[in-house]
């Protein structure tokens, strides 16, 4: 970076408080840009050192992990960051989510949303990333998304543990009359090696927490790590194997009522009329409430049990208006097609001169294709739900949620109260996958709580409501052209992708007055930022103006761009009679991290060895969320249909803080992608979603699950994410395997449109 760039960057960092780390490690503890949210809720004898650490006089150490635990293991790995530095064991601490607070803003999530590839370390990219630090702080979004939890917490939460440790040592030094530098810490005690005296953290906590936090607490070098870098028993595992009541649906409060909602089956349509007379007569019904909210219209049923609410909701007669989008798939595809034809889009990658390179291309050297992907539901195992209580002007909400500060904003607004009068309690999430970044279910629960006379109301959606009222993974169309050179490599690659904009859909759901201007990088994420060198290489994004609710679905744009980019790359390889992995070797020479992952997966699978009859393999690579992932899928043709036999994954995540959890996320992500690739689609008729439950929106079952072999690499210079990166290449590798097995190039998902799976 240039000197000017460095200076400017430093200026930004000071302004931004740089909570993401880097130059300003320790800045939070020194300047405290936000209040410590734990100071208001301390128990008797409990002290807090910073927003992540509480220690009680009974030696109870509580670590705040202010990220949604939705299966990805943050309640273990983030707690380990603190425990490592604080010298306590993971099984000796209590892990809590804590309250929503600006102190817990996830700046990395906002930064990684910018339209720069992760390998672009240019001054401009860094300036923009740091500039967003200011905006991220201003919005101070506490979110779990974008596979950023670990990266965002890596410096901050180790610093939190180290700072508390040094304060405890200072307090002990005072009591013991020795220099703090001579003391050490282990297993929750400060020890004086010279005298063999020791004091427990609980004995020191109140005094220590009153000290001025050091700004220079040293972090342990990797060579000294006890917990990090090693697989830890998950802190949530015991609760999850014993059926403990940890989820949103398990919230139980005195005098609690139960409810459900039915919103317009045509998303965005008005409720023209409602007749609840018969439903109100049913046993167990407390109240039927018409809901007219900025997020849609419909009704809620408050009852004495969830089942009573479900039954009465079925008995309500309502008429709905027209949907504000074309009512069926034919109309929706033609809108997407129209956007593709009429909008030039924004080129988020534009190397060389694609138009000139394609203009005089000989016909036989041109490869062209058009691809499509459908809308998809998240289908978390735990249906959408929230519990709300509105009493004495105070709103309390219990919800499984990925963005509690945003949830608080919209629910307080709905209730007409200040945010300070809204308490949000985040439970464990029975799956998130991006769906729970939204807060619609909590807004509806707020409205029902306002009708419940101060009683808490637990609002659980039916699975049918959940599938038909999702914020879907966008449908998309991709149109691709390549010109092959004499050596078989692409000289030019032109990709144009049209999809409804996620950002344009999400923004008004939280800030109705704001609109998302400018390009939306999610449209092409996974196509525009891949580590290939092609002399003329353009990737353009078209925001299709379709007012259908779309949102963040595990791996977001990568979920379909991985398929687009890597299946078209497979077509290029096939056209030039080049082995698909050899093609990548030749196009990725500038990116050793990518090549490392590819060579590793090729070795693991013994790529190139002859296969038995009726077997075939596909390969794909996607760089997403800062991690470099290569996958090979092997399938077999069986009398029952195609079976996915085995999947090999090599993923370079830079630093793997917990290998067992990273491995689980990799096969989890792959299974999520394979489920969608095989069979899933959301379609529309009469303005309504046609699928409704797991009988027609199913996912991979255990008998369909392949064997997995996973390698975790740590060569990348930056730490990447883990929760979403397994998904994109799995989709493409399966589609490429289907081509290798059957000769069918399936250019529209799901693959079951053209082939059958066992």
């Amino acid at each position: 970076m240039s000197r000017a760039g460095r200076i400017a960057r430093r200026t930004f960092l000071v302004g931004a408080a740089a909570v993401a780390g880097g130059l300003a490690v320790g800045y939070y503890f020194y300047r405290k840009p936000f209040p410590n949210p734990l100071e208001d809720g301390l128990a008797e004898g409990e002290a807090t050192f910073n927003p992540y650490v509480k220690i009680g006089s009974d030696d109870r150490v509580t670590v705040i992990v202010p990220r949604a635990e939705m299966g990805q293991g943050v309640a273990t790995t983030l707690a380990a960051l603190v425990a490592e530095e604080l010298d306590v064991e993971l099984d000796a601490i209590v892990v809590e989510h804590g309250p929503p607070a600006s102190a817990y803003a996830n700046v990395t999530m906002i930064k990684d949303g910018l339209p720069f590839p992760v390998f672009d370390e240019s001054t401009l990219a860094n300036l923009a990333r740091d500039g967003v630090g200011v905006v991220g702080k201003f919005l101070a979004i506490q979110g779990t998304g974008g596979s950023t939890s670990t990266t965002d917490a890596f410096e901050r939460m180790r610093q939190a543990g180290a700072t508390a440790r040094e304060m405890l040592k200072s307090a002990a030094a005072e009591k013991l009359g020795v220099a703090a530098g001579t003391l050490r810490t282990e297993a929750g005690r400060v020890v004086d090696p010279a005298s063999e005296r020791s004091l427990s953290y609980g004995e020191l906590a109140l005094d220590a927490s009153a000290l001025r936090p050091p700004s220079d607490a040293a972090l342990r070098p990797r060579s000294d790590w006890r917990l990090l870098g090693r697989s830890q028993p998950r802190t949530d595992m015991h609760a999850k194997v014993t059926g403990a009541p940890i989820f949103g649906v398990d919230v139980s409060l005195p005098d609690m009522l139960f409810a459900t909602v039915r919103m317009s089956p045509r998303r965005g349509a008005r409720m023209v009329s409602i007749d609840a007379a018969e439903a109100e007569k049913l046993p167990g019904v407390v109240k039927i409430v018409p809901l007219r909210t900025y997020l849609g219209e419909g009704y809620g049923v408050i009852a004495k049990s969830t089942w009573h609410a479900f039954r009465a909701a079925d008995a309500v007669e309502a008429e709905w208006g027209e949907a504000p989008f074309p009512p069926d798939d034919a109309g929706i595809w033609s809108e997407l097609q129209r956007a593709m034809e009429t909008d030039a889009g924004t080129a988020l990658r534009n190397d060389g001169d694609v138009d000139t390179a394609l203009a005089d291309a000989p016909r036989e050297r041109v490869v062209e294709a058009e691809y499509r992907v459908p809308f998809l539901a998240h289908a978390t195992m735990e249906p959408m739900n929230a519990t709300a209580r509105f009493a004495d002007g105070v709103l309390d909400i219990w919800a499984p949620n990925q963005a509690p500060t945003l949830l608080r904003t919209v629910c307080a607004r709905e209730a007409g109260i200040e945010e300070a009068a809204c308490n949000v309690h985040v439970t464990y999430l029975g799956g998130g996958f991006g769906r729970r970044l939204e807060a619609d279910y909590a807004v509806f629960a707020t409205r029902l709580a306002m009708e419940a006379g101060g009683a808490p109301v637990k609002v659980i959606w039916t699975r049918e409501e959940d599938i038909t009222h999702d914020m879907y993974r966008p449908a998309a169309i991709g149109r691709f052209t390549a010109r092959l050179g004499e050596n078989g490599l692409p000289e030019a690659l032109d990709m144009k992708i049209a999809a409804p904009s996620i950002m344009a859909s999400v923004m008004p759901r939280f800030y109705p007055a704001l609109s998302a201007l400018g390009p939306d990088a999610t449209v092409v994420d996974g196509s525009y930022n891949q580590p290939y060198r092609i002399p003329n290489y353009r990737v353009a994004a078209v925001k299709a103006p379709l007012p259908l609710p779309v949102g963040f679905w595990r791996s977001v744009g990568n979920s379909y761009n991985g398929y687009f980019h890597e299946c078209f790359m497979d077509e290029i390889a096939h056209s030039s009679a080049t082995d698909p992995i050899e093609l990548r070797r030749r196009l990725m020479t500038d990116f050793p991290t990518a090549l490392g992952a590819i060579e590793k997966v090729a070795d693991m699978a013994r790529w190139g060895d002859p296969l038995p009859d009726r077997r075939a393999r596909g390969f794909a690579f996607t760089l997403s969320f800062g991690s470099w992932v290569a996958e090979i899928v092997e399938i077999a043709d069986t009398p029952e249909g195609i079976r996915i036999e085995k999947v090999w994954i090599a993923a370079d995540v830079g630093t793997a803080l917990d290998p067992s959890i990273v491995e689980a996320q990799l096969f989890s992500g792959a299974i999520y992608g394979l489920s969608a690739a095989m069979n899933q689609e959301i379609t529309f008729a009469d303005g309504m979603v046609e699928q409704s439950n797991f009988h027609d929106f199913d996912a991979m079952r255990i008998h369909q699950c392949p064997q997995f072999e996973v390698a975790i690499l740590e060569n990348a210079g930056r730490m990447g994410g883990a929760g979403e990166i397994g998904t994109p290449p799995a989709v493409a590798a399966l589609a490429n395997a289907v081509f290798a097995l059957t000769g069918k190039r399936v250019r529209q998902l799901p693959l079951s449109r053209e082939v059958a799976f066992a």
Partner: protein, 152 residues
């Protein structure tokens, strides 16, 4: 109406057609079985009735004949059931929401077939959906539990 749930007798005031799942969850406060689909398509609500796996979301409470065992009744005197222990040792759960149902199905499988083959595992467990895709570790944990029980 009187049920035996996890060894305890409980009296509940439910309409006969109320599904067992909601009687357990909303009336009896037994929250281990989970609601996932309401049509016996996902298995999150699985409980055992006299040892046989049942999808409690579609079973009217009036039709329950026999002792109900939920995930909350598996551990004995603070000691986890071998299947739970195998799940813990194998670090199976991710989000965890489906796991109560997975574990109940696995308990029923191993009671019937102490050393199941891969095909028998797949067949017994295919009614239990997991969106996190914990299947590879579920398979390993069932084999681990089978080995633990054989050695016990």
């Amino acid at each position: 109406m009187r049920l035996t749930v996890d060894g305890k007798t409980i009296d509940i005031d439910a309409e006969p057609e109320m599904p067992l799942l909601w009687a357990l969850r909303d009336l009896a406060g037994v929250l281990g079985p989970k609601f996932g689909c309401g049509i016996a398509a996902c298995g999150a609500c699985t409980v055992l009735i006299d040892g046989a796996p049942v999808r409690s979301c579609i079973l009217p409470v009036a039709q329950v004949e026999g002792d109900v065992t939920t995930i909350e009744g598996l551990a004995r005197d603070g000691t986890l059931h071998p299947v739970q222990q195998a799940w813990l040792d194998g670090q199976v759960a991710q989000c965890g929401y489906c796991q109560a149902g997975q574990i109940m199905s696995a308990v029923a499988l191993l009671d019937e077939i102490p050393e199941p083959t891969d095909e028998e595992i797949d067949s017994a467990m295919s009614g239990n959906l997991c969106r996190c895709g914990t299947y590879p570790r579920i398979r390993a944990a069932i084999k681990r539990a089978a080995a633990m029980r054989a050695g016990a």
